[in-house]
């Protein structure tokens, strides 16, 4: 296997002693961010996030620590997603916002689908959302030569006049980035002319391999746009009067509420029912729970700082913002895990409870909930046990879904993570300890996926949207790794996901029939090669070296 040699070769570059050091430093996390710059660095730099690798759980953890995952590239690649597309996801789901794609007409032309998603998902949260409203600055060839700043100016003013939006998110796409349009100056200039806050998003697709860099871009923009993140006296609250005889009591009441309030950060991949389940569990131990920033109005953000703790429901999204809130407002945060499956849910609730000194209450609740779930999963377990599953998508979802699959007796044949960095190590250590050294790829490439599935022959796939099609073509039924339609979080989510697995396995005729009747676009010889054949370490040799390997 050519690639086994490659993995070994990259390990050789590090002395044995260093390898041992890394093994003990799996808990260390790489984070190198600067809030004062015009735009944030991509995650390949700030977290040494890797996007290409083939191996097992143990080597991706070690290589994440050494930072060398970020050096891996591909000598043959297929198209995927860009950070600009991802950046629009938050922009659209801010209540009453407008998004501007500063670029030629194609950038963001997939955004029509956001229209029904934000309206529906808003509705599920009791929020009346406007349509997904967006503009393209529609740059022409001549503007790509002469600059598109004037058109951006016109577009921002038109967007503000037409919709009076809560915020205008301006996405900087590839073309204007290369020609050097200065959107920061344009937006700074226009600030006094618009009623909406203007949020610059530096998200040209070519700048980041790791497209989840988009979340840092958006939070960087939110932070730079200067939204008010503290309540305003006489607008949001009446300051207590020290001469009031009840002053001490009122102050204590206020502080009690604040000290029992926790902020949770959501994302487009997290559904209203997920939020409801997490709320149920945390309210049961006496906490006051609030969700930010999606499906909320920027005015609501003034209350963000009125909480004792910030918690990321999936830190792939929110770490950047939580770190900012910590540095700027001294708000503590924790990154427990994503609460999918019993083990992760226990960890999630327990870590939050520990911060508030409510561990005993949490344990009581979790024991009870877990016992109930275990009982309910019994018949499902009987039906699905031993079935092989392959799971692919963002690494937090993938990792926790692996643990859930194990919980219901399935065998995890392999995992495919879109990217990976040290922030996954705590979870992946648990996977290694529980499931063993599972085959693990870092890949969103469909050719690598097809190759891997041909070898691992799973019974079921749990896939990130966009890739399930290849599973079905291969005769493997596939369910979504996340979807606002279903519950994934907590005990309710674990049961629902188990039920969906069970239901999907109960009749596989759709994918069976499909696979019998279609042709795959790959050479037979491709399946004889290892799936990571084209992944090369760009830090040392050129791609050609790996080519002949």
């Amino acid at each position: 296997m050519a690639k086994k040699e490659f993995s070994a070769a990259s390990a050789d570059q590090i002395s044995e002693r260093e390898v041992k050091d890394q093994a003990t430093s799996r808990e260390q996390r790489i984070l190198n961010i600067n809030f004062d710059t015009k735009f944030p660095e991509k995650r390949e730099i700030t977290r040494k996030t890797g996007h290409a690798y083939g191996g097992h759980v143990d080597d991706i953890m070690d290589n994440a620590c050494a930072g060398c995952l970020a050096n891996c590239e591909r000598a043959f690649s297929q198209t995927s997603f860009c950070q600009m597309g991802v950046a629009t996801l938050i922009g659209f789901s801010i209540k009453d916002s407008v998004v501007i794609m500063h670029g030629p007409i194609g950038c963001g032309s997939q955004s029509h689908f956001m229209d029904f998603t934000i309206r529906l998902y808003g509705q599920q949260r009791g929020k009346q959302m406007a349509n997904a409203r967006w503009f393209s600055t529609n740059l022409s060839e001549s503007e790509v030569i002469n600059g598109g700043e004037q058109k951006l100016r016109d577009t921002v003013l038109e967007a503000d006049r037409r919709f009076r939006p809560s915020a205008i998110f301006v996405c900087m796409t590839c073309a204007p980035s290369i020609i050097g349009d200065d959107i920061d100056s344009v937006l700074e200039e226009l600030k006094s002319e618009t009623t909406a806050p203007l949020v610059p998003l530096h998200c040209p697709g070519f700048k980041a391999r790791v497209f989840s860099s988009a979340y840092d871009v958006v939070y960087h923009g939110i932070q730079r746009a200067g939204f008010q993140l503290e309540p305003l006296p006489y607008v949001d609250y009446e300051p207590f009067n020290p001469d009031d005889p009840d002053y001490d009591l009122k102050l204590r009441q206020y502080e009690y509420t604040r000290n029992h309030t926790v902020n949770l950060y959501n994302a487009v991949s997290i559904g209203a029912q997920d939020e409801a389940e997490v709320r149920r569990l945390l309210e049961a131990i006496g906490l006051n729970v609030r969700f930010f920033v999606e499906f909320s109005h920027p005015d609501d953000w003034r209350f963000i700082t009125e909480a004792a703790l910030n918690v990321a429901m999936c830190h792939v999204h929110d770490l950047y913002f939580l770190e900012y809130l910590k540095q700027r407002f001294d708000m503590p945060y924790i990154l427990p895990t994503i609460p999918v499956g019993s083990s992760a849910t226990r960890q999630f609730v327990t870590e939050i409870a520990r911060f508030f000194g409510l561990e005993a209450e949490a344990k009581k609740l979790l024991d009870k909930e877990e016992a109930k779930l275990k009982e309910a999963l019994k018949p499902i377990r009987e039906r699905v046990k031993g079935k092989k599953v392959i799971i692919g998508g963002g690494y937090m979802r993938v990792g926790t879904a692996c643990l859930l699959a194990d919980e219901i007796g399935m065998k995890v044949a392999g995992m495919r993570n879109f990217n990976y960095d040290t922030y996954g190590n705590q979870l992946f250590q648990e996977i290694e300890d529980t499931l063993g050294n599972v085959p693990a790829a870092i890949s969103n490439q469909s050719s690598e996926l097809v190759n891997m599935v041909k070898k691992l022959k799973p019974d079921l796939a749990i896939s990130h949207p966009g890739l399930g099609i290849w599973m079905n073509k291969l005769g493997v039924p596939s369910i979504a790794l996340f979807s606002q339609r279903f519950t994934f979080f907590g005990y309710k989510g674990a049961y629902e996901l188990a039920r969906r697995i069970d239901r999907t396995l109960a009749n596989r005729n759709y994918s069976k029939n499909l696979s019998r009747n279609i042709e795959l676009p790959y050479q037979e010889s491709w399946y004889e090669k290892p799936y990571n054949y084209y992944i090369v370490d760009k830090s040392g040799d050129t791609a050609d070296a790996a080519y002949t390997a």
Binding site: M84, S109, G205, I469
Partner: protein, 448 residues
């Protein structure tokens, strides 16, 4: 070429690369290769999926090979990356035809992709090249340019023409959401008058259809705007005559279309008469059976049509000429230059309407609703006023909102369609006309 003069709110099309990716992916076992950033192919696949859940197919979306150039290549050039990709493509991918395309960033930095391809030729499978930087035009323009390049680079020239072979062009995959059903039906009808028809984009097509396209005696362009330049090029390079016509929807329009084609090719009147008699008899026997409902319920409506330059006029024509409705507004949503607007306007003027609707060119989404609201008396408070009521809206899924405002039913016929999936449905021809009739009436019954 689109004007690109103004910013556009929620444009109903994508860029040149977007149109080319949708079209290459619809050709038989053809695979596009993107020389561009990693998101271009994926996002534009997300865009054409909005044409009625038009999916990956043989090798679209996530299967599309892409050089995924990054910051380093934007600074130092991406030609090496293209060379590397082209080496890998033939080891991994299996296709009958490859088309190398470019994106904004590779066109701006000035990569000479053509030189890279030439230096690596010959390839085991034909490889075409087309510069497709997104800022060069929209998806319709991309479609037209691709067809043009197919004639220039791929379709063999043939001195000998088969008088009975015709090629169909003008419908853009996904951006004309019913292109497959429409082409299948036009093909079915033309076969009945003895023609051999290449569609290139339907499920029955193979490379053989592309390779024999040069033998055709006529290129039929089912759009007043798109594919026209390609047909003109094919006339120069391949000596194939062309016929530019509207997409025929329903019995009236299709009968005229068949006669036009038959006359152009010189097919005897007896055969044409026989086929058309058969088709119209069948058509109206179906319509006859529906008429109890129509007569008893008064399903005649005013209508607003919102569609692209290919579909807008034909849909309105069907409503007026075929089923006797009263289209009041026709919105053409493409970003058209003066010349293109002139083409549509001239056709509109020539079209016989019982009640002439208003023709409006408006690519900017909420201005469409605004246009009606600001000019229609039902939004003025008065006791008696002439309303657009009962109203029916034919448009994209976006127009559902307009239908709510006009308090009428709605059918999605133009891009983007996200409220239903399009499988083999088509609205062109005789059968398509019946299907459209069925859908228009069903939309008014669905709440029962």
């Amino acid at each position: 070429m689109p004007r690109c003069e103004n910013p556009i709110e929620r444009p109903r099309y994508s860029c040149m690369l977007g149109g080319v990716l949708a079209t290459v992916g619809a050709l038989p076992k053809a695979i596009p290769i993107v020389h561009g950033a990693q998101g271009c192919g994926g996002s534009l696949g997300g865009a054409f999926a909005l044409g009625g859940a038009y999916g990956t197919g043989y090798a679209g979306n996530s299967a599309v090979p892409s050089t995924n150039i990054a910051e380093l290549e934007v600074i130092f050039g991406g030609e090496d990356k293209l060379r590397e990709e082209l080496r890998g493509v033939f080891e991994v991918m299996k296709g009958d035809l490859f088309v190398v395309t470019t994106a904004c960033m590779t066109d701006i930095i000035g990569d000479d992709a053509k030189a890279v391809i030439d230096s690596m030729a010959p390839f085991p499978t034909p490889v075409l090249f087309l510069e497709t930087g997104g800022f060069k035009g929209n998806s319709y323009y991309g479609y037209g340019r691709l067809i043009e390049e197919l004639f220039l680079q791929y379709i063999p020239r043939s001195a000998k023409k088969d008088p009975k072979t015709v090629n169909l062009f003008g419908l853009v995959p996904a951006y004309d959401p019913f292109f497959r059903g429409d082409l299948d039906e036009i093909k079915r009808v033309l076969r009945k008058i003895g023609l051999h028809v290449n569609t290139f984009l339907t499920n029955d097509q193979t490379q053989e259809n592309l390779l024999s396209a040069g033998k055709a005696s006529l290129n039929i362009v089912l759009s007043r705007l798109y594919g026209v330049d390609a047909a003109k090029t094919a006339k120069e390079t391949h000596g194939i005559d062309y016929l530019i016509t509207d997409l025929p929807i329903g019995a009236v329009a299709t009968e005229a279309f068949v006669r036009l084609v038959a006359e152009k090719i010189g097919i005897g009147k007896p055969l044409v008469d026989k086929v058309l008699a058969e088709e119209t008899r069948n058509y109206y026997t179906y319509v006859d059976r529906c008429t109890d409902l129509i007569a008893d319920t008064d399903f005649q409506n005013y209508a607003v049509v919102v569609a692209n330059g290919t579909g807008a006029l034909p849909y309105a024509k069907y409503l007026d000429n075929e089923i006797g409705w009263l289209p009041t507004h026709i919105f053409v949503t493409d970003d058209l230059d003066e010349e293109q607007r002139g083409v549509i306007t001239r056709e509109f003027d020539k079209t016989a309407f019982e009640n002439r609707p208003e023709l409006i060119f408006e690519p900017d989404t909420s201005r469409i609703q605004q246009y009606i609201e600001q000019r229609t008396p039902q939004f003025v408070a008065d006791q008696y006023y002439e309303t657009i009521s009962p109203a029916f809206v034919l448009g994209s899924t976006i127009e559902r909102r307009l239908a709510e405002v006009l308090n009428g039913p709605f059918l999605s016929v133009s891009f983007p369609i996200i409220n239903r999936i399009v499988v083999n449905r088509g609205y062109a021809g005789f059968n398509g006309g019946l299907t459209l009739f069925e859908d228009l009436i069903s939309a008014q019954l669905s709440a029962r």
